[in-house]
């Protein structure tokens, strides 16, 4: 294998039968090698930045507080420490963590079901029908979609106080089910993937509007249903501000707000709290955090494709 730097000669490359290898060698210029070295340093460096905290969180609950402090961070603990942390966490306010997780599930699933129904119907209607006010609804959808969720939280709270709905699950479920991003995704989906001719054909065959939707559009729209479900579920599961403001009682908290409650009663970050026999230390706190993110983490791991295509919903339209 006569591989030397002389292979830089690009003109020779195309004439030889082993062109592929030659071409590869031809790229081995000093600047290419420096570039590659830099590439790995930067990309691996950022991968560490993004992944190490996640790894730490996965490992921490398997260790005792003592080994968290004294052992190398990548060391793996054992079942004993994990079950100790689990028992301590369950003992906290009679297993309120399970109530929080249940609440999170209830709020997120409730939101998801309503959002999917409303978004599929509206996205379809906006994509295939002409009616008065259609443009206004589209414009409003985009405006609200562009506005950060947090800005509506206080107005929603004031409204709930006015109507007396503050403190009920509906005060978080219904506002979160108002999901313009989902409507926009479904609208884009049907605008680009549902040929008009199919709809016209079904109408000619005697289907009414509702029949066309349930028999034609909905079966073809399962990818859109999946997208809206994922995004709506994850965003409501992770929502903190709205339930924090709306739900005053500890047993109504979703787990995101529950974590805050745990934080205020542990000496993990503030020794002045003192150990009131609560046994919530760093491993317990890490376990609670992990339990709080597991559903979304699983969705992320197994639905990468769908999530990425959803993020690109706008980009593809370009």
């Amino acid at each position: 294998m006569a591989v030397t730097n002389n292979a830089l000669d690009v003109t020779a490359e195309k004439t030889t039968p082993v062109g592929r290898q030659q071409r590869w060698v031809a790229r081995l210029t000093p600047s290419w090698m420096i570039g590659t070295a830099l590439w790995w340093v930067i990309v691996l460096g950022f991968m560490l930045f993004f992944v190490v905290p996640v790894l730490w969180l996965l490992l921490a609950p398997t260790k005792s507080d003592h080994s968290l402090v004294h052992e190398f961070w990548l060391s793996v603990g054992g079942w004993t420490d994990l079950s100790t942390a689990w028992n301590h966490l369950l003992a906290y306010q009679d297993g309120v963590i399970l109530t929080w997780l249940g609440n999170s599930l209830l709020y997120s699933l409730g939101t998801m079901v309503i959002a999917v129904i409303a978004c599929m119907l509206a996205g379809y209607g906006l994509a295939v029908m002409e009616f008065r006010g259609r443009k206004t609804i589209l414009l409003l959808t985009m405006i609200v979609m562009m506005m950060p969720n947090a800005v509506l939280v206080l107005p929603l709270y004031l409204q709930a106080e006015l109507m007396g709905t503050a403190g009920t699950p509906w005060a978080v479920i219904l506002p979160m089910a108002m999901y313009p991003f989902g409507v926009y995704m479904v609208f884009i989906y049907y605008s680009t993937n549902l040929p008009r001719s199919i709809i016209d054909a079904s109408r000619i065959d005697g289907c009414n509007e509702w029949g066309t939707f349930t028999r034609i559009a909905l079966p073809l729209g399962t990818p859109a249903v999946a997208l809206v479900s994922f995004f709506s579920f994850t965003s409501s599961w992770n929502n903190y501000f709205l339930p924090f403001v709306m739900l005053p009682q500890t047993d109504q908290y979703p787990v995101t707000v529950g974590l805050n409650n745990l934080l205020t009663s542990t000496p993990a970050f503030n020794p002045t709290v003192g150990s009131s026999g609560l046994s919530i230390y760093r491993p317990e706190l890490a376990l609670a955090t992990l339990m709080a993110v597991v559903p979304v983490l699983i969705i992320f791991l197994f639905n990468q494709r769908a999530l990425v295509s959803g993020m690109l919903a706008g980009a593809n339209k370009e």
Partner: protein
């Protein structure tokens, strides 16, 4: 028409109505009379507001700079070579998005606690020995920017990567034939062609950044006064509503934030024309 009804009802009840109600409260007295601009004057002259504005401003500035440099940089790098590994890398960047919200704040509190942090060596190297030193008031804007970057950058990298994929390959190939190196191609061809997406990212992130709430609120609870309860503007408006029960002034402060978000949204839709859906 009936198809859009459920959504329109939701939009009217939980989008338009609360906004209208907030505006109405902002120009009213607690007794229901007309207050003019009195509530606005009261919140603007609040002694805590300048601090909150400076805090949020510093946070947004650091965050946007980080997004602009690193998101664009990493999208370009992973678009350029080693496509198999780049895919893995992009997923790694994206993964922390699953921890958005309070979980991310907790994870980063651990990361900033020198006794348990994997980066304890780094923290010690810059002279930080305790969690209290880590979360000193001067560090908070940077910390919140790091958390926001950690959870959100991956999604933007994926979007930028998609935008880079939309650039016709013959354009890049023509430049290569003309002898342009990767840096030259990135600077003269790829960057100008994804500029619109970079602008979009910065504008949207600016709007989100001004609404900062979860991070300072959680850190304030964990440190018991170590972090000011009115660190961000949104926290201040919540103090008005919860601690003083003064819904009118809370609404006035929020209307300011609403107006900002609305201007940004209308600007993006009108000017950047990213969502030209009727094409």
């Amino acid at each position: 028409m009936l198809f859009v009804l459920p959504y329109v009802l939701l939009l009217a009840l939980f989008g338009l109505f609360p906004v209208g109600y907030a505006v109405a409260l902002a120009v009213s007295t607690p007794e229901g009379g007309f207050a003019g601009v009195a509530n606005f004057v009261a919140v603007i002259t609040d002694y805590r507001l300048p601090d909150s504005l400076v805090n949020v401003g510093a946070y947004v500035l650091i965050w946007l700079l980080a997004l602009m440099v690193f998101v664009v940089g990493l999208a370009l790098l992973t678009h350029q070579r080693f496509h198999g590994f780049s895919k893995v890398a992009r997923f790694a960047f994206y993964l922390p998005g699953a921890l958005a919200g309070s979980a991310a704040v907790l994870v980063w509190m651990f990361m900033l606690d020198p006794t348990v942090s994997p980066a304890a060596g780094l923290l010690n190297a810059v002279g930080i020995e305790t969690f209290t030193q880590s979360t000193a008031p001067g560090h908070l804007a940077l910390i919140f920017a790091v958390i926001a970057f950690w959870t959100g950058a991956g999604g933007w990298i994926v979007i930028m990567y998609g935008a880079l994929n939309n650039i016709p390959t013959d354009l890049v190939e023509a430049a290569q034939v003309d002898g342009a190196g990767p840096l030259r191609i990135a600077w003269s061809i790829q960057l100008p062609l994804i500029r619109k997406w970079v602008a979009y990212m910065l504008i949207i992130s600016f709007a989100t950044g001004t609404q900062l709430f979860v991070e300072p609120q959680l850190l304030a609870s964990a440190t018991f006064g170590g972090v000011s309860e009115s660190w961000s503007v949104n926290q201040l408006s919540l103090i008005y509503a919860f601690q003083y029960g003064d819904f009118n002034r809370a609404a006035a402060l929020n209307v300011g934030l609403l107006a900002l978000a609305l201007i940004v949204a209308v600007f993006v839709i009108g000017k950047v024309k990213l969502f030209d859906t009727e094409a």
